[in-house]
């Protein structure tokens, strides 16, 4: 059986994707219209990473999971009312912006510093998890940058599956072009695993898990330190939605084949 892992998941919140997202220029740089009031969800890629982390921790006894998150703490507190009930974890909070306009290098530095400060974290057993991308910032570089700042050289940036071999080595399937997987073997932690979708369903909410988590999460939220990351020194000339207009249609009873055909037609167009 493998030695316990120390799994650190980086992830924050994004506006609920069903909301109308309208870029606006604010005093602190660009943002979204009514951003503070829009309901937020855990960034879906970070969510996959967190659920995979919890699953791994369940399989390898003694493992621990931390969620390191940079976001406005009041909104994070709301988010925890859902996320904290899904799987057990400890929270590390950096109180700052989770805006998609913040600079990825600054975000990575803040996250790396916070990870270095986690008491009792065994850097030799560290698996750094997160999303391979983000629903608010799709540059897909943050995790790589955090890994580099922590000196982790083994990086896997489109993970869909992680298995632990009997000798404790990591067996990793990464997405590559054309629906193919690249299979890697990593002898031991530390490693960075940026998750694509994984294969786990979203765990059920379970308030009992939540209330256990909240015992440590609330104090963390209360003592969260403000962190400034963002747009300082960056000038945005214009900010607008991607040119492809999002036309949400709600349709019923359409066979999957028809939906697939429509997507293919759209891609080809």
């Amino acid at each position: 059986m493998a030695d316990p892992f120390h799994i650190v998941v980086c992830g924050s919140l994004v506006p609920d994707p069903l909301q109308t997202l309208e870029p606006v220029a604010g005093a602190q740089g660009p943002g979204l219209k009514n951003e503070t009031m829009l309901p937020a969800v855990l960034d879906p890629w970070a969510g996959h990473a967190l659920f995979e982390a919890a699953n791994l921790a369940k399989q390898v006894a003694g493992s621990q999971v931390w969620l390191v998150t940079l976001g406005p703490k009041a909104k994070l507190q709301q988010l925890m009312m859902t996320i904290a009930q899904k799987v057990p974890f400890q929270l590390v909070v950096l109180d700052g912006t989770a805006s998609g306009f913040a600079d990825a290098h600054e975000v990575a530095t803040a996250l790396a510093t916070a990870i270095q400060g986690i008491p009792g974290l065994d850097r030799n057993r560290l698996l750094l998890f997160g999303g391979c991308a983000s629903a608010s910032r799709d540059s897909g570089v943050t995790l790589q940058l955090v890994g580099e700042q922590l000196g982790i050289r083994d990086q896997f940036l489109g993970v869909d599956e992680l298995g632990i071999e009997p000798d404790g080595a990591l067996h990793i399937l990464e997405r590559v072009e054309g629906g193919q997987y690249q299979v890697s073997r990593c002898v031991a932690p530390p490693a960075v695993l940026a998750w694509a979708t994984g294969s786990l369903p979203e765990p059920h909410n379970n308030p009992q898990v939540g209330m256990m988590n909240m015992r440590t999460i609330m104090p963390q939220l209360q003592k969260a330190k403000p962190v400034t990351v963002g747009c300082a020194g960056i000038q945005y000339d214009t900010v607008k939605l991607p040119s492809q207009r999002r036309d949400t249609r709600v349709v019923r009873d359409v066979p999957a084949a028809d939906i697939a055909r429509e997507i293919v037609d759209w891609l080809k167009a």
Binding site: D16, Q19, M37, T82, Q85, H204, N205, Q208, M214
Partner: protein, 748 residues
């Protein structure tokens, strides 16, 4: 004196209210356990429940495999355990009324039948929780707890069987047909009972493993009525019966079961004693069901309110997009952007729907919180009475006479400024748990039936309005938000757990309680104060309407009809029931205003709200209060006027005309309120004297001397409506600008 007017341009609603807003308004911002239950109920509602409705699972009366999938979802998400005590595996410590109300609210947001299914275990367990013996609580609550990791056990489900086939229990719960007899009683052993019960419309019967049933003794060796617990494996007949062909709540199972079972006497809920060779149950079925319904009815009321609020988003989306896609209609044009929202009527009606949903929710959650606050005092009272050996309803009533008198004194002191009252006496009364018990009991006895009656009854009417705003789409299965189903379902919410007549009957008694009326009087003063600070809420108009109601009630209590018969008496539903209806409007609106004040007070401490939006929410909700106050005032004025005048016989020309006509003095008095009134009166009276028979339209007029005080109040109330329509216009305007999500967050 200067009259301040508020500028007509003010911050308004930017987004639909989210959790940050609701947690403050409904007072669970500091309860993480409740917030989590809300989130997990929401994910079940908008996940599996919505899928079931969208897939057409409601289109059969049978309890299908698909419908049955809701149970594991309730178990996994903590919904089942939310109703259970921590010592038996639950996780919510302390009273749970607010938490369970929010669960019902979240589920009913999508489907109230699913909400019913989730809560029926609490109803079935209710008699055991409220009055059961320790052994009964342990056995049935532990059996209902969902399996823990590693366990393979199936959790038990329950049903509550009170209603019986005609001619027995329905609205009148005393007419029991279900019988219990002593089947076998050997010396020194537990007596065995034979229970025969037929149920009608019993929820959860398709799956119930146990049933709590109301029965009456048919044996001299057993006294009175009681509730017994029946298990599916008991010897005899446990026939689940045929599914009811109901048109509503198809995500709950309803059957007409038949039971004929032998059970040990230990199944009598709350236990029994043997006195002179007779089994005497410790609680009659009446004692038990009142205690159970008092709590569960609040959750039902909230189901209908949830549905009203759930209608706002789909209606706004439908209205805005109504004409999009039409030839030559360009994005950016008002017709494209606003669609039907260009029409004032469509907006005004939606404002009314929203305002009713707010008022109902505020009343419901206030009632749930009241039960939470009251529960510790109930336990204290029970413990004190047990210590003192005070048992039986009569003895308890006698024992509470003194605390009730003290409670009146306490309320009088409570209304005085601390500096002016006898603080020593106040502290003494405040420390007496029985004083708090009776004060809160008097409120619970009014708020609970008011919430069940008004939220469901008026709510059903308003759901019909919501359906109509969606046009033909509204009455199809495809209507987003399932509005047609929600409307129809609401009729059941108004019926089960005691239909409207039961609630009106209860209110017509409990609202006359001096303890309630003392608090009601204080509320009038409070509303005046709020009206002075925040006139835009309409609080002052509400205070005037409350005064009108109180005056009318006092008048009716002593008044007689034209034939000399007393007006306010229990059989005279024509008097008591409408007055109960009028009171509900006032109670709901008062709670609505208080919730908005709470948001205004606590909102600034919420970074998510203070960062933007709070002012808009407060202004918009304030306007909704004003709109609703006007509506409530109208209802109260109408009902009260009909009752005050309607039982005097209308004068006819045979009698002395002048005595019956409006007097000049009164005409002058009314002239001040309605300029021009005296001229009309004078013209009319001139006409009378000039002609042998007066013209059809001219009277005979009614002398209003006896009710002058009423007219004055009513006229004042009319004036109090000032500004209400401006508030409605502002709220309507806000609906055209509020940002809504791109799609509903549950399938349709």
């Amino acid at each position: 004196m200067t009259i301040m007017t508020k500028p007509e341009t003010q911050a308004s609603l930017q987004t639909l209210p989210g959790d940050d807003v609701r947690q403050i308004m409904w007072r669970y911002a500091d309860r993480f356990d409740i917030q989590m239950v809300v989130q997990s109920s929401r994910s079940v509602a908008r996940g599996i429940v919505a899928q079931l409705v969208a897939e057409g699972a409601r289109n059969t009366h049978d309890w299908t495999e698909a419908k049955n999938r809701m149970f594991p979802a309730f178990d996994q998400s903590g919904i089942t355990a939310a109703g259970l005590d921590p010592e038996y595996g639950g996780f919510l410590t302390g009273p749970r009324n607010l938490a369970l109300s929010l669960v019902a609210f979240e589920l009913a947001w999508v489907d109230a039948g699913a909400a019913t299914t989730s809560l029926v275990n609490n109803l079935a367990l209710g008699p055991i929780v409220e009055r059961g013996t320790t052994e009964q609580k342990a056995r049935y609550m532990s059996a209902c707890i969902p399996p823990q990791p590693g366990e393979t056990r199936q959790p038990w489900r329950g049903a509550f069987a009170l209603t019986e086939p005609i001619p027995y229990v329905g609205v009148d719960t005393g007419v029991l047909g279900g019988k219990v007899r002593v089947a076998k009683w050997t010396e020194g052993a537990e007596p065995m009972l034979q229970v025969e019960k037929r149920g009608r419309f019993i929820t959860n019967m398709a799956v119930a493993n146990f049933v709590t049933a109301a029965v009456e003794s048919d044996d001299p060796r057993l006294k009175g009525t009681c509730m017994v617990i029946l298990e599916e494996s008991d010897p005899g007949i446990f026939d689940r019966g045929a599914p009811t062909h109901k048109l509503v709540h198809q995500l709950s199972s309803t059957h007409d079961p038949i039971f004929n079972l032998t059970v040990p006497a230990s199944r009598i809920i709350g236990g029994y004693t043997v006195q002179n060779g007779v089994i005497v149950p410790n609680y009659s079925h009446g004692d038990i069901i009142e205690a159970v319904f008092a709590r569960t009815r609040v959750t039902v009321g909230l189901m209908t309110s949830a549905k009203l609020l759930s209608a706002v988003e789909p209606v706004v989306r439908y209205q805005r997009g109504r004409f999009r896609g039409g030839a030559g209609l360009a994005p950016g044009s008002p017709r494209y952007d606003l669609g039907l929202q260009q029409k004032e009527d469509a907006l005004h009606r939606l404002v009314d729907i929203w305002a009713s949903g707010e008022a109902g929710s505020s009343l419901g959650f206030e009632t749930a919180r009241l039960f939470d606050a009251w529960e510790p005092y109930v336990r204290r009272k029970e413990a004190l009475f047990a210590e003192q050996g005070i048992t039986g309803a009569r003895a308890q009533m006698r024992a509470l006479r003194q605390p009730r008198a003290e409670a009146l004194e306490y309320l009088a002191l409570l209304g005085q400024p601390p500096a002016q009252r006898n603080e020593v006496r106040f502290a003494e009364l405040d420390a007496n748990p029985l004083v708090h018990y009776v004060v809160q009991e008097s409120l619970a006895n009014v708020l609970c039936p008011a919430c069940k009656l008004w939220n469901t009854g008026h709510g059903t009417n308003m759901l019909r309005e919501a359906v109509s705003l969606m046009g033909g789409y509204g009455i199809t299965e495809d209507c987003p938000g399932f509005l047609g189903q929600k409307w129809m379902d609401a009729q059941l919410e108004a019926t089960y757990e005691g239909p409207e007549s039961v609630q009106r009957r209860q209110l017509s008694v409990t609202m006359t309680d001096d303890l309630f009326l003392a608090q009601y009087r204080q509320w009038i003063t409070d509303m005046r104060h709020i009206g002075a600070l925040r006139p835009a809420t309409g609080a002052c108009a509400l205070a005037t309407a409350m005064e009108l109601w109180l005056w009318t009630f006092m008048h009716l209590r002593d008044a007689k009809d034209a034939d000399g018969k007393a007006l306010y008496q229990s059989q005279r539903h024509g008097v008591t029931f409408p007055l109960a209806d009028a009171l509900c409007w006032l109670l709901a609106t008062r709670c609505q205003i208080l919730d908005v004040l709470e948001l205004a007070a606590k909102g600034p401490a919420s970074p998510n709200l203070a960062g933007g939006g709070l002012e808009g929410f407060v202004n918009f909700f304030t306007d909704l209060c004003h709109v609703h106050t006007a509506r409530a005032a109208g209802e109260v004025g109408r009902i009260c006027a009909e009752l005050v005048y309607g039982y005097d016989r209308h004068p006819a020309w045979e009698c002395d005309l002048r005595g019956n006509c409006t007097t000049a003095i009164l005409a002058d008095a009314l002239d001040q309120a309605m300029p021009g009134y005296s001229m009309i009166a004078e013209a009319l009276s001139r006409e009378f004297t000039d002609q042998p028979l007066p013209p059809d339209k001219a009277g005979p007029c009614v002398c209003m001397r006896a009710t002058e005080a009423f007219s004055r109040r009513r006229t004042k109330l009319d004036g109090c409506l000032t500004g209400a329509r401006l508030a409605k216009d502002r709220a309507a305007q806000a609906l055209t600008q509020v940002m809504i999500p791109e799609a509903l967050d549950y399938p349709a």
